[in-house]
Amino acid sequence: MKKISLLLPCLLVGLWQLACSLRPGAYDLVASPAGVLAGLADLCLTGMPPGRLLPGHILYSLSRIFFGFSLAAACGVPLGILSGGNPKARALVMPLIDFFRPIPPLAWIPMAIIWFGIGFRSAVFIIFLGAFFPIALNTCIGVATVDRGYLDVARTFNAGRLDIWRKVLIPGAVPSIFTGLRLGLGIGWMTLVAAEFTGVRQGYGLGYMIMTARDLQRIDEVMAGMAVIGLIGLAIEWGMTKLAGHILGGRRVGQWIRI
């Protein structure tokens, strides 16, 4: 993490604190940075709803995204590989995917509630919808746009169909697959929080926490919650990047990765 990356956030926070100090708003529509920190403390100590502390919310939200994302990856990557490498499969599957993709996951919430209620499966379903499409599409594109030259090399060695899949198409598509996974995870995280707004049976979840803070007009806690969500999203992104670097041979593999 370069030091310069911290410059802009610090500057913004400083200006924000200044603005709040100069105009102690009659309208408390925005909390100052100090207020947000206080709200964060309240979230950890008192909890929102009262009695439910922040770590619990984080744990539940993370577990939902873990399962939803894993499901999306388990379905999306194989489907993407198959449709990327096989034009018939692509023609079979892609129109359907292109039809469902523009429907926002949140539009599925009424159906999700009817089918799965307000429990864990409902949230996992919504996240799955958010994460699946970027994963499947990027995988498909990755396989389909593998450099023709790589295929030529394999063909001059008389490689069989299976070998071409295993040794050229799939490894060649790995950067795109990772891009798809990163996008899917990011979108899944955003979808999760919004999905938790409609209610969760366990009474835990970051989106749920923010919604109840809003009910009590605790703007400081709402903003603290948003900050937590953003930070966790950042951490997830950072983790993915590190993981990608590790698995794919790090910066040594160079431009090919495009991370």
Binding site: D147, D152, V153, A154, T156, F157, D163, K167, P171
Partner: protein, 276 residues
């Protein structure tokens, strides 16, 4: 002469009859060469040199004609070929040694054996210390050495090279040419080497195949009778170069002026300044 490679009546048309203007790129090529010979192929840009190589390699299907290798028709499924591409086409996700051994890997050779074979080439080609490097960490010349090793490791019956040095700077290019000749002289492979550089063709080849503009025919087969190691600047080398350049320029001038489509539309009439 023991004919190793024999090409008869090779034609290649792009486009389907009845859909637009089918373009004949290669028109009735007849050619043969002996085992262990180094054949360079030159011609104007777009005259189908690469297409010819790709057909032999089995990456494209000819429209007509036959190819025989070592007395049998060339069966792409069983033939052992090694090809080096213009853009080296090394797999960026594999290290140098892993790239080299891929031919053996695809044939099912066990890991230890193929790794040892690949390492031999690493050592022979002066790449020691870089076997675990990824292509992005290698210089242009090193990458081409890896590409050449990859083509040679499975003991091919025929080596095809499609302008492998054209993206290198001239210094590296000269070094690589010498390197290639060293390797070839020790192994005795049959090599078909496509290039647009007449200099390179004269320096490297035993015979130079000159292709005319499309529909390409063999305009001439120029034997290069120079002793090896070759002197680029010798008078004889110059004479051969001049001969070929004349051929190309005469045949090419109209083509570059009018363009291949127009040439095609005008049929096979020779429009050139060449005096008969």
């Amino acid at each position: 002469m023991d004919t190793h490679l024999k090409i008869t009546g090779l034609k290649k048309r792009f486009g389907v009859e009845g859909q637009g203007c089918p373009v004949t790129v290669l028109d009735s090529l007849d050619f043969s060469c002996a085992k262990g010979s180094f054949i360079t192929i030159v011609g104007a840009n777009g005259c189908g040199k690469s297409t010819l190589l790709r057909i032999i390699a089995g990456l494209e299907e000819p429209s007509e004609g036959t190819i025989r290798l070592a007395g049998k028709p060339l069966d792409r499924r069983t033939a052992r070929l090694g090809m080096v591409f213009q853009e080296h086409a090394l797999y960026p996700w594999r290290t140098a040694v892993e790239n080299i051994e891929i031919g053996l890997e695809l044939k099912g050779m066990p890991r230890a054996t193929r790794r040892e074979a690949a390492m031999e080439y690493i050592r022979a080609f002066g790449l020691e210390g870089f076997e675990s490097a990824y292509p992005s960490e290698l210089s242009g010349g090193m990458k081409q050495r890896v590409a050449i090793a990859r083509a040679l490791v499975a003991d091919p019956e025929l080596v095809l090279m499609d302008e492998p040095f054209c993206s290198l700077d001239s210094q590296t290019r000269n070094t690589m040419q010498q390197f290639l000749l060293d390797v070839w002289s020790r192994r005795g492979d049959t090599v078909l080497f496509v290039t647009h550089s007449v200099d390179e063709a004269v320096f490297l080849g035993d015979e130079i195949l000159v292709l005319s503009r499309p529909p390409a025919r063999i305009a001439d087969i120029v034997p290069v009778d120079l002793p090896r190691p070759r002197d680029r600047t010798s008078l004889k080398a110059n004479a051969i170069r001049k001969q070929i350049l004349n051929m190309l320029e005469n045949r090419v001038s109209a083509a570059t002026y009018l363009g291949p489509a127009m040439m095609e539309a005008l049929g096979t009439q020779e429009i050139s300044r060449e005096s008969e």
